[in-house]
Amino acid sequence: MATDSSRIIKMRIKRQDSPDAPSRWEDFEIPWKPNMNVVSVLMEIRAHPVLANGQTTTPVVWESVCLEEVCGACTMLINGVARQACSTLIDSLEQPIKLEPLTKFPLVRDLKVDRQKLFEHLKQVHAWIDIDGVFDLGPGPRMSQHKRDWAYELSKCMTCGCCFEACPNTKRADGPANFMGPAPLSQVRLFNAHPTGAMHAGVRLNAIMNDNGVSGCGNAQNCVRVCPKSIPLTTSIADMNRQTLKQSFKNALGSFGGK
C-alpha cells in the first residue's frame, strides 16, 4: 500500500527507564499509513527510535500478545483513557496522541506495567470451577443454551485492567483504597452461575465479603463505560450485593433449605 508521505502522526509517549527512575515525555513523528493502530505505530518507533527533533532514543517498551483485543496485555492510557493499543485505530484519535502507562499498577518500564494483582484477585475469589477430585467425579450437569449465551458475555473478560484503572475506588500506586475492582466480582457471578461451579458459590461469596470486596464499590459506574468487551459489570456488582446479602444471612443464622 502506498504511503502518504505528506501526513505524519504526532505521538507523545511517557517514558520511564525503571520503576524508580524519573518519568519524561518524548515526542515522535511517524509517517502515516492507512489503517494504523497504536501498536503498529509503536512498532514503527521500535524500528526507528528517533524523536521528532532528530535525536536518537531507546525503543519504547510495551506489552502486547494477541493483537486482536482478547488478551488485554497492551492496555494503556491512550489520550488519558484506559484501552487496548491493538484495537485503537490511529485515525479515530485526536493528535498529538498521548500514550501513558496504567497508573494503578507497579510500573516496569515505559508503557509496561505489572498487572499481577489482577491475577491475585482472581485467585482470591476462587475464579475457577473445581473438577478434580480423588476420584472421577463424572460428567457435570448440562447448561441450557439460554444460560450459556448469558454466561458467554461475562466470560469475555480478559482481565485487561480497564475497569480497575477507571474506578475511583481502586488503589493508586500510593493510595489507601484496597478495592479489588469490578472484574473479579463479575467472575464470581459467572462461576456461581455454572451448575458445577455453583457447588462452591458460598466460598466465592465469602471471599468478596472482605475489606477489598464488593462493598468497596462506590457506584461511579465508570467500569461499565470503559469495558472493551461491554460486560455488564454494574449489573454483576449489584447482583453480588444481593447474593452476599443472602450469604451473610446464611452465615449468621444458618442455611436455608439444607444448602
Partner: protein
C-alpha cells in the same frame, strides 16, 4: 479471646459499610423527610411553626430518642462516610460521565452536610433547648440566618443534605441488591430526580418563608 484474623477484620469493614448505607436511609433519611415536613408548618404561619416545634420539644423520651434515632446513627454514618471519602479518589477530569460526577457530588455533599449539621445542631438545637418557656423557635431561626453569609451557608447546607439523601437512595438500591439491571437503575434514577425536584421546591418554599417572615 483470640485476635481476629485478617479475614474477620475485613469482614467487619464490609459489615460497617453496609450498615452505613442502611443508616443513611433508616433512620436518617426518614428523619430528614420528617424534618422537612415539620418545617412545612412555617408556610402556614409562624405560630403554627412555633407550636409544632414546641410539641416536638416536649415529646416524651425526647433526649433518648434523639440520641438513639438521630445522633448516634448520624455520627456513625459520618465517621464511616469520611473513611469512604478518604479511601476513594476522583477522576472526573478523565472519565466525565454523569454517574461519575454524581459519585463525586455524593462525597462533596456528604462532607458539607456533616459540617452543616454540626453548625445546625449547635447553633439552632441548643439555642432552642435553652429557650425560656413561651419563646419563639422562629425568632431563633431568623436570628441565625440574619447574616447573609449565614443564610447562604444555610441554603447550601440544606440542599447538600437533600442531594446526598436523594442520590444516596439511588445507591442504596444498588448496595442492597434491589436494582440490578441498567434499566431498573435508570428508572430509580428518574424517580430520585423527581424526588429531588419536589424536595427542592419544598425546601425553597420553606426558605422563602423563613427569609420573608
Amino acid at each position: 479471646m483470640a485476635e481476629p484474623t485478617l479475614l474477620q477484620q475485613g469482614r467487619r469493614i464490609n459489615f460497617l459499610k453496609k450498615l452505613q448505607s442502611l443508616c443513611g436511609v433508616v433512620p436518617l433519611g426518614i428523619f430528614f423527610c420528617f424534618h422537612l415536613v415539620a418545617n412545612y408548618t412555617l408556610t402556614w404561619s409562624i405560630p403554627a411553626y412555633d407550636a409544632f416545634s414546641h410539641f416536638l420539644e416536649t415529646m416524651p423520651y425526647k433526649d433518648l430518642l434523639e440520641i438513639v434515632v438521630i445522633f448516634l446513627p448520624l455520627l456513625f454514618h459520618a465517621i464511616i462516610g469520611i473513611y469512604i471519602v478518604f479511601t476513594g479518589s476522583n477522576n472526573v477530569s478523565t472519565y466525565g460521565y454523569m454517574r461519575n460526577w454524581r459519585y463525586l457530588f455524593q462525597r462533596i455533599t456528604g462532607v458539607i452536610a456533616f459540617a452543616f449539621l454540626v453548625w445546625h445542631v449547635i447553633g439552632l438545637k441548643w439555642a432552642v433547648s435553652l429557650m425560656p418557656d413561651g419563646g419563639s423557635t422562629f425568632s431563633i431561626l431568623q436570628t441565625a440566618v440574619a447574616n447573609p453569609v449565614a443564610l447562604v451557608a444555610f441554603i447550601i447546607g440544606v440542599y447538600s443534605c437533600l442531594y446526598h439523601f436523594v442520590n444516596g437512595l439511588w445507591t442504596f438500591c444498588i448496595t442492597w441488591g434491589i436494582t440490578l439491571t441498567p434499566r431498573s437503575q435508570q428508572i430509580t434514577s428518574y424517580l430520585c430526580l423527581a424526588l429531588f425536584v419536589v424536595g427542592a421546591f419544598f425546601v425553597g418554599q420553606m426558605i422563602f418563608c423563613m427569609v420573608t417572615g
